[in-house]
Symmetry: C2
Subunit: 821 residues, 2 copies
């Protein structure tokens, strides 16, 4: 069993170039220049990894010129450089508007080398000037304490894709070209990255790309052959399978394979040119005819050895064309003088003395690069904030839900808000999109279709006319892949536009890691002076945990907030609007903001309405507030604080107040609502945080607080553990224990239903004595009765769902003289 | 712009069956029986969604017999039933060992109907007996409070895949068939699910399946056409593209398309039989020759209308073959008498009176089902715990790292532990596998390759001999997809075997949602009496945040622990072993355990060793402990508690103790180490939790505690906010702020370095007065000096990294007489 010798193939896939597209567009002189440019770039890549001094090897290489800790990835750099530089020829020839996305972003030396050779790097970082000193600093800072990272980080000019976590290059690229009809995103996809799930499905993005209104992505799948320590799947399947796979994904694959540099120059130059012309042909056809269609877009499959142009073997161990060249290609140069010599010889083979005479490359070589904003490292799209235009916003006040009496009418907050979104869309038909994994209609946002339908470039059937809301030119992006939706949105926003992702709450965890990475990108951008602020990434979570009783346990997870709350306070915001007008106010705020990840949690069903628009604006601006219409403390010391955060928790807490007042009309209850979750944390730890005295003025520091929370209760505790009186804070929220239930039963299990909350409150007020015990008994009986009825009928008793605040407006105007007097 | 009428295709893709495989294996009589069985199943599916009474429609259908709240999904049920029942013929004919995986698990009525018709349901739930009363209860409980969910939940006999969150059917299926050479996993993949990233890459699982030692997956891609409100991508691309896509994925696609039931019976029967014979042919070829190879495994592409056999239109709105049939097909039957009639007519078209005469189906129909454990709903593999054999464990004590003096020697804890793993593997060569996303070697676990290499069914190159560690028959599973690794492991464990996933810490967030769902599955299983316990799902996290200074910000995220800590305490365990012997002890414990998700966090670099094996066993069993060898309180009231959780935090805290003792040799410091994170929480909230008095005996309730934590500091606060003296708990851990740095600088930024910890401690002991201030100054100066040196050289000063506990064993034996006396 296992592998036997006979099965081992030993034929190298390399040698003279083999390519689908034939042709020799380059002159002998061109080839020499590209060869020199390639060498110069490769030299820079090795220089970044190894050198802190002697940047041009004017002296013999000695260990004290090396960085003490060698870091960085070389493996993918040659292929990336090769692709980038040959595309430059076409940018100049056809005046292309292009950006470069480095899927294997840890091959940053490739990208940084290009930015340096194009001059952009020295422009934004004058310290890294195009001379020997600048080059030395450029080398040293790479993966050096206080310097820049070994990925295409935000510090990298021209980057909108870091590539630290793999899988998102293609979805980012498509996000960037949607509504940028002239843009081409040249996108390198590593064959390691290609194994990830998010990448594997993102190829289907062409089914959502309109050749009239959108630009194009030119993907280059780089069959580098190896990952960290393994071959890659796609490099070890047959040629035929590879071809089929991409035909199946809807692309026309063009192979470029080999390691003979000279013939590879011709093959790559010819292939890239063919692909650019194909793209332009498709676009012209669609634009001239006004008929959008989905062509077989080109994809290039570039097979070159990992660590190409490096030594094939070192001490009988494979390096070039093997996984050993993945990171630092020769690691023991500090200890092994022979290897140091080998490195020096290798570096000198790139002829730094000839190519960097005077510390910079010759004007002839420089002329291979485009100029100004045509340089991919300088394209404003990749610094999206500078081309970003604020949204033309309709006045959200015009969409107000009429609230004559607080907590009396039920309205559909979400579908009402969708009208606002519809008009945001209508006002901004080329720079705002709504994204969602097949849930936009289910999430009650269908009103938006009046402004923009769902983009669909697949086949159309007659039945689509029956409410399909599909169109070639649409504004809503739906694919059943949270990864792809999020990736598109990130790319769209990073390239200077605006958007919103809507999703069921439980499954947003699918993109935890993507949101984490985006937060880190934003956080880092704040330190990069030349980066202009991009629009916030807005996430609307509906189908919330408290209305997932029927779908059961798998659909109950409000923990995304915990993930977000761990990120830097400078870039994250969380809002839980209690009603429709607050939802409008929060949405308006988020859509206007920049540089944040905003999360809004709001249920999609009909809900009680509490605040007029004017009240909502004040409440949302404050972020937290005492609601006097439901408070009986009349500004005095309360006996009890009932607090809630989230729409359904607010409803239940308020119903609990009603239950309490039925038993204890004299009770001084303060009702508090929290919209902006970070109000709870100290102002020292988050810019939105309350000071301790503000906190005390709301929550007191000695009264029991029954806090009904949307998510896991511990999140509130972690935000408030330092607060005065935090011992009196009793938080109720979701705990993991699932079943098929009614909303009541789900809430009872988590002690977040009105009965439990009221009993909880009574338990915290021992001064109620026997009256408390009696009331508790009554409440418990009522709870059991309601529960039994629900189990009998399969639905909660109507009196629960239909409960409204019974006091005809303000409590103080209606109750016993003692209180109103 | 947009879609114009000309572009709309109106040709229905349905009609008489069209299939790749021709043939008519069924007699006219067979067809009649299958038709009846199909109808009986469809009737049950609708019954579950609608009825709480009148289960056989013996009376006219009236609204009071309907469930008040209509729930459940019908759309995918017909196609699933169709596939399942036709596969039953082959199980019987060829005596196949098979399980069924329902990718679109929300079509649970299909699966439940089969389990009921096969008799399994009544066996495990005698209440749902095969008679009218039982049927009524069977219907009522579906998606009813206190009943079962609308997915293939753990309560479903034969299910190992719930399908609540989509994307994992194929990876679960492959996980189940690895090392089960006779098993076939018939796996329905919804075309919605097929759009997810995890599913899109999991097709490549065949590159890791050995036809000699593993079973086979027979995927059926169900082109149902629609998701919730959208067409599916794969149903709207050309036939040719679909074919190419699967050829590209390495499968031979067999199409079965149509909606004419009779011809579809023949087509499906013939196609499934062909595929089964193909599978057996490939297996025989490999097994007879002893030569493993990767054939083009069969995949069936089944195109039937969504809601097949339902009304095509209702009130001029499309139902069958459209997204409206996704969930409850007719929703307004309570209010609309005509629609109620329509439903009744539809249900009666399935002839319940004839097919369920006497409340159960006829013996002739029953005979279409296999019997005993050959029933897919009764296959023991799908209740993996009952076939699970405990691992043959080597004695982990034999792998002990020799520790003569505590905190003096540096050893490679991880690669040492890998020797233990190697022998676990060697002892269990058919029921233990190690999974990882191309990081096993990088994570210092390469020792395992001596027992089992990496499975690889792609092409082999000669260079693989140079340390490639690839083999057709291996034990290590590596693909650069955390999703696929996790999915395989889940499938492997749920089908009765054992395994471990190793991953970099930062990127484990990629599978947050999968781990969430697995936790929920385990939690639910605890309530299902007939489910036997499966092995724990073990996750080993290395490449931890504190050694990701050089990769920078994107690689720094220890927040997976927060996600896990939110799950039910009944099923989650988190361990942070401080050294090599503790790592061995924890690993041994986790591999022996069942029904948990165990997370072990341990760095892969060389680390200080603290405990002998005997000490480590005691320490890990306690989960938390005072380490007397580093404590100077000698059992008295301490001045200060220094606590640490995690290997690197322990190292730094200990170095801080040394710094403090250099300045204040008389200080009574207590050193506490936490291995088992849930020791921190109250025993009321987690079975591992300490009582408050245990807590106080370790941490005191009034002394300052400087707690150095591996992860985000808030996690400790959320676990401990109720503890006595929690106000004195000062937790240091990772906070979101990144750069390229040295370990020292990363720690300083988070105040987790020895200097910051020591200064922090001094700040909490005002009684040190001026001596404190002076010591603080000295420490601060030392910190700045060390930092500058690091920035200069690119590496931390050696004295930091090489620091060891300087007191020649126990403190109390060596220091000033005052303390030792």
């Amino acid at each position: 069993m296992g592998d036997s010798k006979e099965e081992v193939e030993s034929i190298s896939p390399y040698g003279l170039a083999r390519s689908t597209v034939k042709g020799s567009p380059l002159s002998k002189d061109d080839i020499e220049k590209y060869n020199d440019f390639f060498k110069a770039s490769l030299y820079l890549s090795l220089g970044m990894i190894y050198l802190k001094q002697n940047p041009l090897l004017k002296k013999p290489l000695a260990t004290d010129q090396l960085k003490a800790r060698l870091l960085g990835h070389f493996g993918s750099a040659p292929g990336q450089i090769f692709t980038y530089m040959h595309f430059n020829r076409l940018i100049t020839k056809y005046d292309l508007d292009a950006i470069y996305i480095s899927g294997p972003g840890h091959g940053a030396p490739a990208v940084l080398a290009q930015a340096y050779l194009e001059g952009t790097y020295s422009e934004v970082y004058p310290d890294s000037s195009e001379d020997e000193d600048g080059l030395q600093r450029f080398f040293k800072q790479f993966s050096f304490p206080g310097g820049i990272g070994s990925h295409a980080t935000p510090e990298t000019p021209g980057s909108i894709h870091e590539g630290g976590e793999l899988g998102y290059s293609i979805s980012h690229a498509f996000g960037a070209v949607y509504d940028h009809p002239d843009l081409i995103a040249l996108t390198m996809v590593g064959d390691g990255e290609a194994e990830t799930g998010p990448l594997a499905t993102s190829w289907h993005s062409t089914k959502f790309l309109n050749p009239i209104t959108d630009g194009a992505v030119l993907p280059v799948l780089h069959l580098n052959g190896y990952k960290i320590n393994n071959p890659t799947v796609l490099a070890r399947i047959s040629h035929k399978e590879l071809e089929y796979l991409f035909l199946g994904y809807g692309y026309q694959p063009y192979f470029v394979e080999g390691d003979d540099v000279e013939s590879m120059h011709q093959a790559m130059a010819a292939t890239l040119e063919h692909c650019v012309l194909e793209i332009r042909k498709f676009q012209k056809q669609a634009r001239d005819s006004g008929k959008a269609f989905r062509p077989m877009w080109p994809v290039i499959i570039l097979r070159t050895p990992k660590g190409w142009t490096g030594p094939r073997k070192i001490d009988d161990k494979y390096l070039e064309g093997f996984w050993r060249s993945h990171q630092v290609p020769i690691t023991d140069v500090h200890e092994n003088p022979e290897h140091l010599q080998l490195l020096e010889k290798w570096m000198r083979s790139y002829e730094p003395d000839r190519l960097f005479a005077g510390g910079k490359i010759s004007p002839e070589l420089k002329a291979l690069c485009p100029t100004g904003n045509r340089r991919m490292s300088a394209n404003p799209v990749a610094n999206g904030g500078i081309i970003r235009k604020p949204l033309k916003m309709p006045d959200f006040r015009n969409y107000a839900i009429k609230v004559e009496k607080s907590a009396v009418t039920m309205e559909a907050s979400m579908s009402n808000m969708a009208k606002f979104l519809r008009d945001v869309m209508a006002n901004n038909m080329t720079n705002f999109r709504l994204f969602g994994p097949d849930e936009t209609e289910s999430n009650k946002l269908a009103n938006v279709y009046a402004a923009g339908k769902k983009v669909w470039m697949g086949e159309f059937f007659a039945e689509d006319e029956d409410g399909g809301n599909l169109a070639h030119a649409g504004r809503v992006m739906e694919i059943l892949s949270e990864h792809t939706c999020e990736g598109w949105l990130e790319g769209y926003v990073l390239s200077g536009r605006h958007g919103l992702l809507n999703s069921y709450e439980p499954f947003i965890h699918v993109i935890d890691s993507m949101v984490n990475q985006h937060c880190k990108w934003l956080e880092k951008c704040l330190e990069v002076e030349w980066r202009a602020k991009v629009s916030s990434l807005n996430i609307l979570l509906t189908a919330v945990v408290w209305r997932q009783d029927h779908n059961g346990f798998t659909h109950q997870d409000p923990g995304f907030l915990d993930v977000v709350a761990n990120k830097s306070p400078e870039v994250v915001r969380i809002y839980l609007p209690p009603d429709g007008n607050c939802l409008l106010s929060c949405m308006d705020h988020c859509l206007r903001s920049s540089s944040y990840v905003n999360v809004i949690v709001a249920d999609k069903q009909d809900h009680l309405q509490y605040l007029t628009m004017e009240e909502a604006i004040v409440h949302c601006t404050k972020g937290i507030g005492i609601w006097p219409q439901f408070s009986t403390d009349r500004g005095e010391e309360p006996d009890l604080v009932m607090a809630a955060c989230g729409d359904i928790p607010t409803h239940e807490s308020l119903a609990a107040v009603d239950l309490l007042l039925q038993h204890f009309p004299e009770l001084k209850i303060r009702f508090v609502n929290v919209v902006d979750l970070f109000k709870l944390i100290s102002h020292i730890d988050h810019p939105h945080g309350l000071t301790d005295s503000e906190w005390t003025s709301v929550f007191t520091d000695d009264k029991p607080v029954i806090f009904n929370f949307h998510s896991y209760p511990w999140l509130v505790h972690r935000l408030t553990y330092k607060r005065p009186g935090s011992k009196n804070l009793h938080v109720r929220g979701y705990k993991e224990k699932g079943n098929i239930d009614t909303p009541l039963e789900l809430a009872i299990r988590n002690q977040t239903d009105r009965f439990s909350l009221a009993m909880d409150a009574i338990d915290r007020m021992p001064h109620l004595h026997n009256r408390g015990s009696a009331a508790r008994e009554t409440l418990h009986t009522a709870q059991i009765k309601a529960r039994n009825e629900a189990f009998q009928n399969g639905v909660d008793p109507p009196f629960l769902k239909n409960w409204t605040w019974p006091y005809n407006g303000l409590w103080k105007q209606t109750v016993t003289p003692k209180l109103t007097g």
